[in-house]
Amino acid sequence: MSLQAVVLKLQEFWAERGCYISSGYDTEVGAGTMTPDTFFRVLGPKPYKVAYWQPSRRPDDGRYAQNPNRVQKHNQFQVILKPIPSDGQLLYLDSLIYLGVDVRIHDIKFDEDNWASPSLGAWGVGWQVMCDGVEITQFTYFQQAGGIELNPNSLEITYGIERLAMFLDSRNNLFELEWGNQISYAELKTEEERQFSIYNFEFADIESLRRLFSHYQKEAERLVTGGLYLPAFDYVLKCSHTFNILDARKAISVAERTNLMAVMRGLSHRIAEKYVQPAGGKANG
């Protein structure tokens, strides 16, 4: 099954189950969780069901297009169900069946993996879903976001699209995947992976990035103080991505890591609070 077929099927499946289908965000994010469609929707009392395809950047995971299973930009399919349905696991298994997985002949395991994003002040409890030893999904019951206790809680299902397509297509190497209509993953992504790996590991200018981080941080602070929490959040995302490149460059010491994390966590918390109770306006979410 091609990568785009996986996405199309998942969109269909979750649209039929009441989700609005969103697009991925247009700023670099490390995971679908960081997209406003998740970060803001899980806050506050209003029920939401949303699903979207989100390309996600992990600079440290780059392998110069030489590793069969890892890339610095991979694709996630993110589903948020709020409140948590009582049959979430079965719904999820149904989605695998819809993709054509015979769940009776594969070893599907819900393996403890408690997700946390210290920079977003967010954490949840759940599993990585393993299928014949491959992690295909992260399944999380959200407990907190932006440092705010959630009520009601949300279920987050994050499919790794490449992993899923490889599994469905019995591929050993993600570059052998078909993206769609006879265009291969390798054709579209090899050069991108090679160049970004060089950039992330060797070429990125540490001093410039440090300055950028500090500029983004100041801008986020200015915006959130001015009540513009949505643009402020964009700048937190830029901080986070800059941090990730610095980290791939091994330019962040342990003490610095703690400090920078605290900066981003503090900003996320202020933004979340503004969203839940905007000054002078009615409560959101």
Binding site: R70, L93, D107, V125, D132, G133, Q143
Partner: protein, 698 residues
């Protein structure tokens, strides 16, 4: 007599929590049933990561009838002056649904009351069950909890069903927004879905048919038997990692062992790296040939039978990707100049307030130099200085960042790869070992010496910053580090004074005399307690033997762990021998007379009586020889030589009065006995050995 079948159906509970939760459940049931006076014959329990089962048999329908007294109003307010019931008494009678003629007078310490005495016919057990089960579930504690529904009850994972059958009839309860029923379910992927349970027998049969092996032990046996078959097929030995086996048992309702192969080209990676990636990353077990070489095979546990080989093929694909990652880390790290990584350690914090790892490696240099000299291993000095400088460099490798458990090992392997001398790379490789007092003995002396220095530096640093170990709290592993030091000293027979190393380690963190004294004292106490504890609990030395060799030990400010160990071993032998009674009696007699005596000078010229002169002559003559034996750790010889003085000591006690009025004379005799006591105490304080009746052991 009835039975209760209880099953808590949950979404996948983390494997490491299952056994503990089951024990808590069982204990809670037991406690609540006792509290409510419900007798029962037996509690059976079993759990998987998706269900917790409790089955209680021999429960009566009602609790035992028992006499019951219900106090009403005091007599003077219950009856009016004419002896007629007042309103208070009428209300009491009405409330308790009895007739007025059932009311009797009851004598209490507070005076005469009106009330009812009757036989309580017992409460219905099913009603008790209904009220205690929610209490039991609410009382369970978890390492981490979550909220998933409106009830906002925290639990470890969402509860999906509550099966409660009392005498095969469903009992209605509710917990965390989940209502009980008579339904259960089988294997997540292979069962026919929910089914109605009619009895315990029915329940067990259904689970059997629906791919649930309910009992932990049966799952363990099934896995081990399968592994054994695969070992024969592969002609190899599967390295069964106990924590991984526990994980398999508690994360599969129907465990099926499978195996697979990987490309031999990955065997060029070090086996330590391959094992770590397999076990920690993929939860698969490595396989070894008879000669100990790693095979290009793995063994894992699936939750379904793998008749279509899908599980095997999937895992073969994923392990290849995992090894590609390992290869990537290995190659990337290999491109770096390992020695120059040391400079970057300046940016890596060791502990808050204790500086960087670079500074730690600097401190290790002076410590290792001292230790090498103190233990007479001068030939190791140069390689160990090099190892100490670079032993923390691997903290900056990708491999260790990914798998912290590879620290030390990776540094060693990279240096081995670069053809560094064995004495250098092996020291780094093993310096995080052993993990404590138990565990494998190190095979390389250099790694033992480096490990001691690394750990003494950590302990001294943490203690200098006021970190305390109390009760079960030891977040920095200070006890574990001290235990490991003691183990290394004993394993390698390192005959040296640990106190000198402690002094230098402490001086690295404080220059103030008073502070330094305090650190030294705390460290000394720590080691004394650790030695006592490990000797008793792990080496199984008798309590009194440990006390006897520890008492007085270190009074001269020294701490020779190996010597204490040898004395403990010798005294442990002696207490099994017939000589011990004589030594104990002798030492008690000495201790008794010199206790509270203060210290006195001894002068030969003050000796008066024949017996004391003989005793002094014999003592002077033996002292040297016994002292030599002690210095050579020949404690058995030393004590049997000491016993040769027994006759003259006894004669001295028989004939010479110590506590004479003459001060000079008395003090001189006490001084002589003190010197004899000091000599014997160098072996042990035999006076505190506990007498054991002949033929019996403690």
């Amino acid at each position: 007599m009835g039975d209760l079948l209880f099953e808590l159906g949950v979404e996948e509970v983390p494997a490491h929590s299952v056994a503990d939760i089951l024990v808590q459940l069982r204990n809670q049931f037991h406690a609540k049933l006792s509290q409510y006076l419900v007798p029962y014959r037996d509690i059976d329990k079993a759990a998987t990561h998706r269900r917790f089962m409790i089955y209680i048999t021999g429960i009566p329908d009602r609790t035992q009838p028992r006499p019951e007294t219900i106090l009403g109003p005091a007599k003077r307010s219950a009856l009016d002056e004419r002896g007629h019931p007042t309103l208070a008494l009428k209300k009491f009678v009405q409330f308790n649904k009895v007739k007025m003629n059932e009311v009797v007078e009851i004598q209490t310490p507070k005076g005469l009351y009106m009330g009812i005495e009757r036989i309580n016919e017992g409460e219905k057990s099913d009603q008790i069950m209904r009220s205690i089960i929610p209490e039991i579930l609410a009382a369970i504690t978890f390492p981490k909890t979550m909220i998933w529904n409106d009830s906002r009850v925290p639990f470890i994972r969402p509860i999906r069903h509550l099966l409660v059958l009392f005498n095969n009839r469903p009992l209605e309860i509710e917990f965390a927004g989940v209502k009980s029923s008579n339904r259960s379910t089988g294997h997540l992927l292979l069962s026919d879905g929910y089914f109605e349970v009619k009895s315990f027998k029915d329940y067990i049969q259904y689970l059997n048919k629906n791919f649930v092996v309910l009992k932990e032990n049966e799952r363990r046996q099934k896995i081990l038997a399968d592994v054994h078959d695969i070992e024969e097929d592969l002609d190899g030995r599967v390295a069964i990692d106990e924590p991984l086996l526990e994980y398999y048992i508690y994360s599969n309702e129907y465990p099926v062992v499978f195996n697979g192969r990987f490309n031999v080209k990955y065997l060029t990676l070090p086996p330590e790296v391959i094992s770590t990636f397999m076990i920690q990353e993929k939860k698969l077990m490595p396989v070894f040939a008879a000669d100990g070489k790693m095979l290009n095979a793995f063994v894992g546990v699936s939750s379904i039978p793998d008749e279509n080989n899908k599980v095997r093929q999937g895992n073969e694909r994923v392990i290849q990707a995992t090894f590609e990652d390992a290869q990537f880390f290995w190659d990337m790290d290999g491109k770096e100049d390992f020695f120059s990584l040391r400079q970057n350690l300046k940016n890596v914090m060791f502990q808050k307030d204790l500086g960087s790892y670079y500074e730690k490696s600097e401190r290790l240099l002076s410590l290792i130099e001292l230790l090498v000299r103190e233990t007479g291993n001068d030939a190791l000095l140069d390689p160990l200085l090099k190892a100490a400088s670079h032993c923390k460099n691997d903290l900056l490798t990708r491999m260790v960042r990914e798998f912290p458990s590879l620290q030390g090992i990776i540094g060693g392997l990279y240096l081995k790869e670069r053809n560094e001398p064995e004495a250098v790379w092996k020291a780094i490789y093993g310096h995080y070992q052993p993990k404590g007092f138990v565990g494998e003995k190190l095979d390389d002396l250099g790694s033992g010496l480096l490990s001691i220095c690394d750990r003494i530096d950590s302990i001294a640093g943490l203690i200098s910053r006021g970190i305390k170990i109390t009760g079960s709290k030891d977040p920095y592993g200070i006890r574990r580090d001290a235990n490991a030091i003691i183990k290394i000293v004993i394993d390698f027979r390192l005959n040296f004074n640990l106190q000198t190393l402690i002094d230098v380690a402490a001086a690295n963190f404080s220059k103030k005399d008073a502070e330094l004294k305090k650190i030294r004292l705390t460290l000394g106490d720590l080691f004394h307690v650790r030695i006592e504890n490990n000797f008793r609990e792990i080496l199984k030395f008798r309590y009194d033997v440990v006390q006897a060799v520890m008492s007085g030990s270190g009074s001269d400010g020294s701490l020779n762990v190996y010597e204490i160990f040898l004395r403990a071993e010798a005294v442990a032998n002696m207490v099994e021998s017939p000589h011990i009674d004589a030594l104990m009696a002798l030492h008690r007699r000495l201790k008794n007379i010199i206790k509270d005596a203060g210290s006195h000078p001894f002068s030969e010229s003050l000796l008066q009586d024949k017996e004391e002169k003989i005793l002094f002559d014999v003592f002077r003559e033996s002292k040297e020889r016994i002292g030599d034996h002690i210095r050579q750790h020949e404690y058995l010889l030393a004590s049997s030589d000491f016993l040769e003085m027994k006759q003259v000591i006894d004669q001295f006690f028989d004939k010479v009065l110590v506590m004479v009025k003459d001060d000079d004379l008395r003090c001189n005799r006490l001084a002589l006995l003190q010197r004899i006591d000091e000599l014997l105490s160098q072996i042990a304080n035999f006076s505190i050995i506990v007498e054991i009746n002949s033929g019996g052991k403690s």
